[in-house]
């Protein structure tokens, strides 16, 4: 964190011009449109409700931010959600005590995360391929566990945790999200670990040569990602009170969109949880608004896909436009310098113009 000497109002203005400021503007626009369509839109209960609908994806998006900033990607999270929910439901169905079933599901998450991490850090394969294989394989394991049935008998206490508010109007998942968001922000921005996540994302070779244990850090991240994904899978199953083999299928699209729209670079090394938090708010409200406008879930997903592309395309175009403007300004300045000079140099200037 650079503490500059510029006064606060100016710094705030600068922030407004940044990507995050743009996100804030977009968020306000979405809010205004939605609340004008539906009267009780901004009430606490509706906002809590809307948050709850996407809370599992939001929790994973926080973890995914770490991974993408680190220069990797984890496509297997959605399948892992299904796998942990499936493990828990199947074990409970077979008569295993509910606490043990939940614990086993979390262990599955840890193991699968470590499995991903093994191929990425020890064998040295690209994370995209490893987690793509994970996406297929873990979903395949869910099919093995649950087959084409649906399991709707889940532990009662888990259903209560998932469906009833815990403190005030907030259910457990929402509280967990805020706890994770705050601890994640502190870890990423203010701890040595967070600095290393950025450093490795910017240039992993430089990080390795400066003595950073890159492998260990990546391993920790992927194990944590597996754990968080399995936790989110349990929360999802608890909220729905049932699970099938296709539970949480395709969630990775929303999750990655949340992170990238939040200004995190897909190449790693830049971005912040602040932006991701804003983009989560935008996507939640956008999806909700589209639902209010009776758009089907598939169209909503299509719009999210478009948003994902735009969130990378627009900054790209803006930067190339800026580069072109800068080049033109340079040309004009060179022109003017040549114009004001003597006649022999005017030959040069005309040559410059020809170029």
């Amino acid at each position: 964190m650079v503490r500059s000497a510029t006064p606060l109002p100016q710094r705030f203005l600068g922030w407004l011009k940044s990507w995050e400021g743009l996100l804030l503007g977009l968020f306000i626009v979405v809010l205004i449109i939605n609340s004008s369509l539906v009267p009780a839109y901004l009430s606490v209960s509706n906002q809590v409700n809307l948050f709850t609908l996407f809370i599992e994806k939001s929790i994973i998006a926080l973890m995914m931010t770490f991974i993408i900033i680190n220069g990797e990607i984890d496509l297997s999270v959605a399948s892992l959600m299904g796998l942990s929910a499936g493990t828990m439901a199947r074990l409970f169905e077979l008569g295993v005590p509910s606490e043990l079933a939940v614990l086993a599901a979390l262990c599955v998450g840890l193991i699968c995360g470590a499995f991903n991490g093994f191929w990425i850090t020890v064998v040295g394969l690209p994370s995209l391929v490893v987690t793509l294989a994970g996406l297929i394989a873990y979903r395949g394991l869910v099919w093995v566990l649950v087959e084409d049935r649906s399991i709707s008998v889940l532990p009662a206490w888990l259903n209560d945790l998932g469906q009833k508010p815990l403190i005030g109007p907030f259910p457990l998942a929402l509280l967990l999200f805020f706890i994770f968001a705050i601890t994640g922000y502190i870890i990423l921005q203010y701890s040595g670990f967070g600095r290393l996540v950025y450093v490795i994302g910017i240039n992993r070779d430089v990080a390795r040569y400066s003595g950073v244990n890159v492998r260990r850090l990546k391993m920790i991240l992927f194990i944590a990602s597996g754990f968080i994904a399995s936790l989110a899978g349990l929360l999802y199953a608890a909220r729905l009170g049932a699970m099938r083999s296709s539970t949480a299928e395709g969630f990775e699209l929303d999750i990655i969109t949340m992170v990238l729209l939040g200004g995190v670079s897909i190449f790693g090394g830049s971005g912040s949880l602040r932006g991701v938090f804003l983009s989560i708010l935008i996507i939640l409200n956008l999806r909700n608004g589209m639902g209010l406008a009776y758009l089907s879930a598939n169209v909503q997903t299509g719009v999210i896909g478009l948003l994902l592309i735009l969130s990378v395309l627009v900054p790209n175009l803006a930067s190339s436009l800026r580069a072109r403007m800068a080049r033109r300004r340079e040309m004009i300045r060179a022109w003017e310098v040549a114009e004001s000079a003597d006649s022999p140099e005017r030959v040069d200037s005309s040559r410059l113009a020809e170029r």
Binding site: I73, W119, V123, G124, L125, P126, L128, V129, V130, L132, A133, G134, L135, I136, A137, Y138, R139, G140, L141, W143, V144, E147, G250, L253, I256, L260, I266, F267, S296, N298, V299, T301, G302, V303, I304, G305, L306, L308, I309, V312, L313, N316, L317, S320
Partner: protein
Amino acid sequence: MMTSLRRYIRPEQIRELVLVFVIVALVLFFGTQIRGYYSSSTFIRFSTSIAILTVVAVGETLVFLTRNYDLSVGSIVGFTAFFVGTQLSFYKDIPPLAALLLAVGTGTLMGSFNGMLVAYGRVPSIIVTLGTMAIYRAMVVEYPGNKIVQMSALPTWAQEFSRVNVFQIGDFELRLIVAIALVVVIVFQLMLTYLPYGRRLYAIGSNPDAARIAGFPYQRIVFIAFVLSGALAGLAGFMFMGRFGNLTVVAALGTELQAIAAVVVGGTSTMGGVGSAFGTLLGASMIGLLDQSLLRWRLISEFWRDALLGLLILLAVAGDRAIVERLRTIWARSELRLRPSVATTIRQEESVHGS
């Protein structure tokens, strides 16, 4: 002996040979497990399903060679199949050739949208195609009319399409669909080996920066790769429609994962620059073989398919990293020893650049 052998056989060819052995071993193994395995009906069913996968996977190979990914092919296959199917069931007098052109044209259009964003918009391919995968699928789901295409509504030639034979020897029948796939493989293998465009794909994948500095039209080459991938997916969509006839909005869901698996198992590097259409044919054959055989194998539930598929991808990629790349270095070294003239030129160049 060894050195002369190295001169004629490349590591990639050894890898393909191993793959052929594995496929033969699998056929022999399943032959002992499944009754009536060596029959013409098994061959027809296997070869037609492999044919569709092969056509998609060859397009994916081109994209992989440039160090990109195309996750949208499954949705393109689904959309073209559904689109052409709907058109045919409304306008029964569309000639077959026009329907084929319609399918390929639609695929080309979708592929060029991907290619434009990747090559000219400089958006990473994983983002673009993750987004368009959702967009194209949403287009299928929201396609006006009833959400289903029925075999009985199609014109007669389309109903007969999957049963047309190119030739028949005794019980052995080669279906038209299979012949199309074989032609695609041969044409694209020749293109990759002999046409300048094919060689440029390898050049770009091996080292994008070097290719750009050497003055290759980088953007155009990548763009065309995506266009071709889309066109082949469109062709596969046509074959898909002809084979299944009855289509729903989830047609060809998940084909992209199988295609990527076929490409990777077939020896194409995920880092670009290595691979062939013939290898992809072998990869697709192996995956189609496993897929169809597991369906019929009593000992293991069919739900294990995807779990095994994921593991297969990991093993193929890890095996490449561990063995094939090492072989390649040995080959390169012996090449230097074989041709002293090459070694001296390299040494001379090094001394020139060193001074």
